[in-house]
Symmetry: C2
């Protein structure tokens, strides 16, 4: 990254040796120093370069403000999110595979910290004997993971510009399917942030219970840090988040490796001794009946492990080129790593015969770690790495949510702001919106994982299904090379995830999935409404014919509302006289005495500009003025009315509160009036910053 | 009150028989129908009348909006606070003595509901035997009441236009003393609302304990009702609040009368049997030592009964003429009524030997009532009347706070808005500010009287002292007729209230009075800062010399930021061409492709208007535009720059969210720029309301 800094350029700007602008052009555009045309734009030299065909190109300096409160804001902004990045540098802000793995798979990999446990917490209802199902269910989920990942490998290749489920579903199944996928994903991204951050905070508070009362504040603080990190731009956020992901991977791999050696080679691993109180508590809750429904519920809980698999395919354009190939490789590695950790943890859980803590004070993972590696430094490393990766899994959504929003904004389904890139090339609006929504969820659900988790996973499997069904349709229609190989894979993926979606909806409906089933249609309706609004407006605003030559509007009727005879009023009147031969000043008087006084002073002051005095016995200003304008307009309906407002600009923003809010209210009302133009003439006090205020 | 309604006028407006304007003039101004000059202003006829010297006088119709969301707001407003009232009707909005007594003395009279009890709650610390001091302390306070009321009678006569302590102290002791009085009073008014409303709600919740959890909401709801009532204007609020005050007065007078008959004539009143648990609880807390400090504390608590005495003298101008005489009479009656109730209650409390409930479930007043009149309907009447008058005592502050604020605003110590009268002749800003501050206090202190009461009374006695000291100085300086009689009375009043202020500060300092002692100087500093700001600005804005003839500003440089080539842009360009011979369009392009496309389309579209394209690789819009303007300005520093902004006006306000916020941000930044005028050219969709949007 080498956005040029003004400090680096400063010597150039002042240096007497060489024309600075020419030197810059030489460096950047490869033009010859002899070019004279540039000289024409003297005043622009410091801050603009010449682009093609003589247009100006703004330098970084035009963005950095230099005085007053905007400079302060800019300073805070630079500290928090860094200096602006030019679009020309965009290519460099791409991810290597190692970084992409850390960013896009932290959500998926972190689920290994709780997937086994969530399964066992359901199975325990049928008694400890049912734990023999842990390994079989884990293997089924791992098999499904392989199917889904292979399926997404096909998708990535087919959509090298980003294989978001929204795009794939829209492309192949139509707009409505795309919106269903989009709504499902948006809801799920917000939930991912809320759930992961809550789980991370819960891990912290189980180490330090004294922080429990501040868990909502802690969680919101983490969301804020994630927001800042992501506003800084994608490469920096990669650097921040690489460490915990790999720390977690290696820490857990170490436990699994050492556990396997002790179990299979040394045969000294032993089994877990559950405290008698746990056994009693679990026996009290157990029904002893292992129904199919219970197995499916356990499977649903474990299937939360599959969330996040799609992240890599959503993020294809963020990879270094060749994007699709790097993305596929990364996806394969992420799936292999996650699968290994998940199977390893489930295997050790079975081998050690661990049981979940009914009081939720300790996680299965911490019990396994303690059994394998004891209570020493390694135990703490694992706990901390777990905490960090759980919190940081939320970061995946900070890559996905803004990107999906930008797609939706581009297609007119979300407000346009979501499509604009900020100074750091990040989708600022999307990042901030996600942070606010997640903060709201954390606040409402009190940062409780238990309260949030039932809403989770459903959206992801709906999106999976739609995306892969879309791929099946695509292969069938296009018959691209290799379709005979890819179509069955995607079909298998679609079928599998559809079945899981149904299972999740059925087994989690009453405990929370219903919220998603209500929210998604509302969100879809909103998106449809937004697009129809944009379409209507675009149609109404478009210029269907190009008018010839120069168009000039009718000469405007210019009025100047005058409250007092002071310098701002004088300035406004002088301006009005400069744009119109016959402006009219209007004074709204609260009582006849005021009216008489104004009339008298006016004649000796601004005699040549016409004055109309309107007495307002109801002490209202805006109503009578608007009605006066109506009357004026009625006399000459074709001419626009220009209202010249004089406004005093205080030295400090808070002083604004001491000055009449009337003109603000007036502007709000005039904004809605047809054929009306408001010209704001600010009056600045003579100050250190520049010349006297009036022109 | 007879503000003329449009509905009444409608037949006139359409009637073909007679010139409507002439008929109106005939009715209102007594002019002959033959006057022809009026005909000149045809378009204004429906909504304006002619005032003196040909100025227009706005009718009520100019205030009542007729379409869109403003009509909705107006409808809500009319339902809540009524139709606007013309300044011409002001005279009729005055108070009779009977209404004024209800409004201005509800604060004072309502204190009888708790003054005796508060005294006893302190005395009980020295044991039940010390209750023999209740009647002596009550008589001392009643004597002080007589002194203060007599003293204020002098003040009312000397200040027939309103004898606020602020005015009296400023006039005679200087600005600083005035501000001290003002700060003390403002704080106390807010506390009066919070304390009275909390006490009222506490009375409700002791009848219906199930409402206890909602007490903050209830209290805030009452404040809201008071706000609405007062925004309706003073006469209506008088009508609303008359009933409870007189109900309370007659209910308590009945209890006292019947109690006296039973005690002195029938001798069947008996004494109160305190439950054994109360006696034990009181003995546990009692020290048995009756120190002077304890007696003074009891006196301080009882002295809360004197708050509100000044309300009548503050409100002199609200009385029907002759204002000062009516106000004096009202003050005398209020003092006599309150004194009688207070002495009567204390007498019965002593006669019955009642003791306060240590658990605060029942008030002394309710215990007395039950003893005298039993547990029947009358008991409920007294309880409800007490609840209502306590809640409504807050209303006194709704008369006083806005009035004092308006005096301070007139003198430049508070923002000017506090000095403006709303459509109903009430000081809208003051009423709303008081409501918000009281709501804040209720929220922070959880609507707890116990938490709020120690902050109370100190401010009032400080203001009393300053006001009466001011009167002493005034009599001494002016030697008006009767000064030899009035001066000693005011001197005695000043001395008495000064002693009480010291006693209150000393005995209540640690339990809350310190808050007031910190807040008051901060408030005074703020008021001084506000005035010095206004003075500085007025001096800077004043026109010291009157320029001769017509002033015309330099021809402005006109630029039109153009984002897209659409109808709004076309309209803005046409307008710019109508006010300037050479406007320049500026397009900020995010990338070179966009820039090239704009250049190409421009040449075939608006060829004769100059276009400058600025490429912005940092994707910022505002920075490059501002720097471009700087460069332009540097070429010609004397000419102002007019920025013509085209803005699309959506049909509904919420659609605004879907359209770019950029122009709003741009306007905010340009507002602070010297020599810059922003002309807002709104583009309206062609709609049912009027003609097509562009001029």
């Amino acid at each position: 990254m080498s956005a040029r800094r003004p400090s680096e350029r400063a010597p150039d700007d002042e240096g007497p040796r060489i024309d600075p602008l020419l030197e810059i052009r030489e460096k950047h555009k490869g033009l010859r120093p002899g070019d004279v045309r540039v000289k024409i734009v003297r005043p622009f030299e410091a801050e603009f370069e010449r682009g093609v065909e003589g247009s100006l190109v703004a330098s970084e300096r035009t963005v950095l403000d230099r005085s007053g409160w905007t400079a302060t804001l800019r300073g805070i902004r630079t500290v928090l999110i860094g200096r602006p990045i030019s679009s020309f540098h965009e290519q460099h802000e791409r991810l290597t595979k190692v970084k992409a793995l850390a960013i896009f798979s932290s959500d998926n990999i972190s689920s290994s910290a709780y997937a086994t446990e969530e399964m066992m917490r359901i199975l325990v209802l049928a008694g400890i004997a049912s734990f023999s199902l842990v390994m079989p269910i884990t293997l089924v989920i791992a098999l499904i993971l392989a199917i889904v990942a292979t399926s997404y490998r096909q998708t990535i290749k087919a959509y090298p510009n980003g294989a978001s489920s929204y795009i794939v579903a829209s492309d192949n199944l139509g707009t409505f399917a795309g919106l269903v996928a989009a709504a499902a994903l948006l809801i799920d991204y917000v939930l991912t942030v809320a759930v992961s951050v809550s789980a991370g905070v819960a891990a912290v508070t189980s180490i330090a219970p004294s922080l429990f009362d501040a868990r909502v504040e802690l969680a919101i603080g983490i969301v804020f840090l994630l927001m800042i990190g992501n506003l800084r731009g994608i490469r920096e956020s990669g650097s921040i988040f690489m460490a915990p992901t790999y720390l977690y991977i290696f820490a857990i791999a170490g436990i699994i490796g050492w556990g396997l050696i002790r179990a299979l080679v040394l045969h000294d691993l032993g089994t877990f001794n559950a405290p008698p109180s746990w056994v009693l508590a679990e026996q009290a809750n157990a029904t002893g009946v292992l129904s199919l429904f219970l197995i499916l519920r356990a499977f649903s809980s474990g299937a939360a492990a599959l969330t996040g698999v799609e992240a890599v395919s959503d993020g294809v354009p963020a990879f270094k080129p060749p994007e699709w190939r790097n993305a596929r490789t990364t996806l394969t590695w992420a799936a292999i790593i996650f699968g290994s950790l998940f199977i390893g943890i489930s295997f050790l859980a079975s081998a050690i015969k661990v049981v979940p803590d009914p009081y939720e004070h300790q996680t299965i993972l911490s019990l396994i770690t303690r059994q394998v590696a004891g209570d020493g430094v390694y135990f703490w490393v694992v706990q901390i790495a777990t905490t960090l990766i759980l919190a940081l899994a939320a970061n995946t959504s900070f890559a996905d949510f803004p990107r999906l929003s930008s797609f939706l904004a581009r297609d007119g389904f979300m407000p346009r702001q979501f499509g604009f890139r900020g100074e750091r090339l990040a989708f600022t609006t999307g990042i901030i919106a996600l942070s606010l929504l997640a903060t709201l969820l954390l606040y409402v659900f009190n940062a409780s994982v238990t309260a949030l988790i039932p809403l989770y996973t459903l959206g992801v499997f709906v999106a999976f299904t739609l995306s892969q069904t879309g791929m099946v349709v695509r292969w069938w229609r296009r018959r691209d090379p290799g379709w005979r190989f890819s179509l069955p894979i995607n079909a298998l993926g679609a079928l599998t995830t559809a079945v899981i979606a149904v299972i999740v909806a059925a087994t989690k409906f009453t405990s929370g999935a219903w919220v998603v089933i209500i929210m998604a249609p509302l969100l879809i309706a909103l998106m449809v409404a937004i697009r129809s609004h944009y379409r209507m407006v675009d149609a109404a605003l478009a210029l269907e014919r190009i008018p010839p030559g120069k168009e000039v509007a009718s000469e405007p009727l210019v009025i100047i509302p005058v409250a007092r005879l002071d310098r701002p009023a004088r300035q406004a009147i002088a301006f009005a006289n400069s744009i119109s031969p016959h402006p009219t000043a209007v004074h709204i008087a609260n009582d006849p005495r005021d009216a008489a006084e104004m009339r008298e002073r006016w004649s000796e002051w601004a005699g040549q500009t016409e004055l109309v005095v309107v007495e307002s016995p109801y002490r209202a200003l805006i109503g009578p003025l608007l009605r006066y304008m109506d009357a004026l307009q009625a006399q000459d309906p074709r001419r626009p009315i220009v209202v010249v407002l004089s406004e005093f600009v205080p030295r400090h923003w808070w002083e604004q509160l001491l000055h009449n809010q009337t003109s603000l209210r007036l502007k709000l009302r005039l904004f809605g009036r047809r054929n009306t133009i408001v010209a704001d003439v600010p009056y600045h006090l003579p100050g250190p910053e520049g010349k006297a205020g009036h022109p």
